[in-house]
C-alpha cells in the first residue's frame, strides 16, 4: 500500500493519508486533483476498478465529502480517495468516461444530495424518487421525521408517558437554583 501512495505523492499533492487496514488505505486530495488522479490510476496502476462512489454530508463544515473507492482486483487491495467540495451549489467533475457505471452513482448522488456532475448523462433524471419536490433527501438538513409527519399520517391513539419525566412529576422533583419561569 505504501508504494502506491508514494507513487501518488510523487505525482499529485495529497492532503492526508491514513492506513485503515492492510488492504485499505485512504487519501485526501483537493477536488481538482480527483479526476487526473483517477485517470492516472486507471491507466497506469492496477487500481482499475471503481467499486464505489459515495457522499458524506458534513453539514457543520458546509462541505460534502466525496469518496471514490478504487480496487485492485488482482492485488486485492483498495484505495479510498476522498475530497471535499463546498455544499453550496455543489458541483463535481464526472468520471463517467472512465467508468460507465459511474453514471448510475452520479445520477443517484445528484438526486439524493443535489450535487451536480456536469457532462454526466442522466443528471436531473429521477432515479429512485418520483415527483419529489423537497430538499434532496439524503442531505442532513432534510428532516425525514418532519416530512413523515407532514405526508404520512400515523394511526392515532398512541400515548407515551416518559418514565423519567413522569416519575419526577409524580414525586415532586424540583430545582432551587433557578426560578421556574
Amino acid at each position: 500500500m505504501k508504494t502506491i501512495i508514494d507513487d501518488i505523492r510523487a505525482r499529485f499533492s495529497v492532503e492526508w493519508e491514513h492506513e485503515q487496514r492492510a488492504d485499505l488505505a485512504q487519501i485526501g486530495v483537493a477536488p481538482g486533483t480527483v479526476v487526473p488522479l483517477l485517470t492516472w490510476m486507471k491507466l497506469h496502476t492496477p487500481f482499475v476498478q471503481l467499486n464505489h462512489l459515495s457522499v458524506v454530508d458534513w453539514l457543520e463544515d458546509g462541505e460534502f465529502q466525496l469518496t471514490y473507492l478504487l480496487t485492485d482486483p488482482h492485488g486485492h487491495r483498495s484505495l479510498m480517495v476522498c475530497t471535499r467540495i463546498p455544499r453550496e451549489e455543489a458541483t463535481m467533475e464526472s468520471v463517467h468516461e472512465l467508468w460507465p457505471q459511474a453514471v448510475t452513482y452520479e445520477q443517484e448522488i445528484n438526486e439524493m444530495f443535489g450535487i451536480h456532475f456536469p457532462g454526466s448523462p442522466r443528471q436531473g433524471v429521477p432515479f429512485i424518487l418520483e415527483g419529489w419536490d423537497d430538499l434532496p433527501p439524503m442531505r442532513r438538513d432534510f428532516d425525514t421525521v418532519a416530512y413523515m409527519h407532514a405526508h404520512h399520517p400515523s394511526r392515532p391513539g398512541r400515548e407515551h408517558v416518559d418514565p423519567r419525566v413522569y416519575v419526577g412529576k409524580v414525586f415532586g422533583e424540583r430545582g432551587y437554583l433557578h426560578d421556574d419561569d
Binding site: Q20, L24, V48, H52, T67, P73, P100, Q101, I128, L129
Partner: protein, 376 residues
C-alpha cells in the same frame, strides 16, 4: 411508410413493476424491434425505504434490525457487514470471541445457501418450468427452519450484532442441520441436475444467452457468480479473507461461457460447496466459550470518528459497506454497495440491446438483480 417499416417500428414496453417475470419490484423500460430489445433503462425506487437516511438517526444497535431488511433473501450479509464495519471503527473487533466468528461464518454460508437455492429455482422458473422452483423453495425453507431455530426468526434474523451474535447454537443443531437440510439438499441435487442442466429446453434457452464480455469484469467491478462464470476466480471470501473463511477448505468455482447456463451452473456448484462448508464449520466450531463480547451500554455508546469500507461475498457477489462515524452515538453516513447496483443497472442496461424479449427475465434472474439493494 411501408408496412414492413411500420412493423419494424420501435415499440416501447414497460416490463414491470407488476410483472411475473421481473425480479422483485422494479421495472425495465425497454424498446423493441420485433421481439428484440434495442435499448433498456432500469427503473428502481419502488422499494426505496431510505435505509441510509434512517440509520443516520438511529443508534448503532438500532441499525441492526433495519439493516437486515436491505436484502430480503440474504439479510445476514448486511448484518455481518455493519457489525464488521462498526467493530473495526470502534476497536471492538479484537474482542469478538472465536465462537462468534464461527457462528457468523455459519450464518453467512447458510444465507448464501438459501439465496442460491432460491435463485437456482428462479433460473428455470423464469423460463416457465415451475416444478424446479417448487423443490428449491422447499429446500430453502428447510434452511429457514434452521435459521428460525438458531436466530428466532425465519426471514429477518437480526442475529449478528457487534461483538458477536445474539444467541448460542441450540442443542443438537448440527445433527438437525445434517439430517433436515444438508442431506435433503444433496439428495435433491441430482434430480435438479436432470431437470435443469440436462434439459434440452433449459440448454437451448440458456447457452449463449446473456454473455458478459470478459473485459468488462475489472473496470465495472462485476463480482459473484457472474464473474466466476467468465472463468475468473474472483471471490471475496478468498481475495479479502474475513471471518473463518481462510481456515476453511474450499476452491473458488469457475466455469466458462459467461452465459445464463454458466451462471446457473456456478450456482448449482456453489450450493454443493456451501453444503460442504457448513459441514466443515459445524465440525470445527468450538462448543464452549462465549458467543458475544462484553458490550458497553448500547443506549449511550459512541464510536470515535473514522471511515471504512468492508466487504463480504453474498450469493450475488461482493457486498460492501461504507461507514463513516463522527464520534457521536449514531453513524454519520452508511452507504450500502450491493452487487446489484452494478449488475442490475449498468450491466443489465449494457446487456439488453440484442436480447430477445423472452430472455429478459432469465437474464435478470441470472444477474440476480435485487432491487432493494439498488435503491436501499
Amino acid at each position: 411508410m411501408t408496412t414492413t417499416e411500420t412493423l419494424r417500428r420501435r415499440v416501447q414496453l414497460w416490463f414491470g413493476p407488476q410483472h411475473p417475470g421481473i425480479t422483485g419490484n422494479m421495472s425495465v423500460q425497454a424498446w423493441l424491434e420485433g421481439d428484440t430489445l434495442t435499448q433498456g433503462i432500469t427503473h428502481v425506487g419502488y422499494l426505496h425505504r431510505a435505509f441510509e437516511k434512517l440509520m443516520e438517526r438511529r443508534k448503532f444497535i438500532q441499525s441492526f434490525p433495519i439493516v437486515c431488511r436491505i436484502c430480503v433473501p440474504e439479510p445476514d450479509t448486511n448484518e455481518y457487514l455493519l457489525a464488521a464495519a462498526l467493530e473495526e471503527l470502534s476497536g471492538l473487533d479484537r474482542e469478538v470471541p472465536e465462537k462468534a466468528l464461527w457462528i457468523r461464518t455459519l450464518v453467512l454460508e447458510m444465507s448464501r445457501l438459501a439465496a442460491m437455492l432460491q435463485v437456482l429455482g428462479g433460473h428455470v422458473g423464469s423460463m416457465g418450468l415451475g416444478v424446479v422452483p417448487n423443490w428449491t423453495y422447499t429446500l430453502r425453507d428447510y434452511v429457514l427452519d434452521r435459521f428460525e431455530e438458531l436466530t428466532g426468526a425465519r426471514v429477518y434474523h437480526m442475529y449478528t450484532v457487534f461483538g458477536g451474535v445474539r444467541r448460542d447454537l441450540p442443542e443438537g443443531f448440527a445433527e438437525r442441520m445434517e439430517t433436515e437440510v444438508l442431506a435433503k439438499i444433496e439428495a435433491k441435487l441430482p434430480v435438479i441436475d436432470n431437470a435443469i442442466f440436462d434439459s434440452s429446453v433449459f440448454r437451448k434457452r440458456a447457452i449463449g444467452v446473456g454473455v458478459v464480455p470478459e473485459e468488462w469484469a475489472d473496470e465495472m467491478g462485476i463480482s459473484g457468480p457472474v464473474v466466476r462464470a467468465m472463468g475468473i476466480p474472483r471471490d471475496t471470501r478468498k481475495d479479502f479473507p474475513y471471518l473463518k473463511y481462510p481456515e476453511l477448505d474450499f476452491e473458488v468455482v469457475t466455469t466458462t461461457g459467461s452465459d445464463i447456463y454458466a451462471r446457473a451452473w456456478i450456482r448449482r456448484q456453489e450450493i454443493a460447496q456451501s453444503v460442504d462448508l457448513i459441514r466443515q464449520i459445524l465440525r470445527r466450531m468450538p462448543t464452549e466459550g462465549p458467543y458475544c463480547a462484553k458490550l458497553p451500554n448500547m443506549l449511550t455508546w459512541t464510536i470515535p470518528p473514522g471511515q471504512t469500507y468492508v466487504r463480504a461475498e453474498a450469493s450475488r457477489g461482493e457486498m460492501g459497506y461504507y461507514v463513516v462515524t463522527d464520534g457521536s452515538d449514531k453513524m454519520r453516513r452508511v452507504h450500502v454497495r450491493g452487487p446489484s447496483y452494478v449488475h442490475g443497472v449498468s450491466l443489465l442496461e449494457r446487456l439488453i440491446p440484442g436480447t430477445n424479449i423472452a430472455d429478459l427475465s432469465p437474464l435478470m434472474v441470472s444477474l440476480q438483480t435485487c432491487p432493494p439493494e439498488i435503491e436501499r
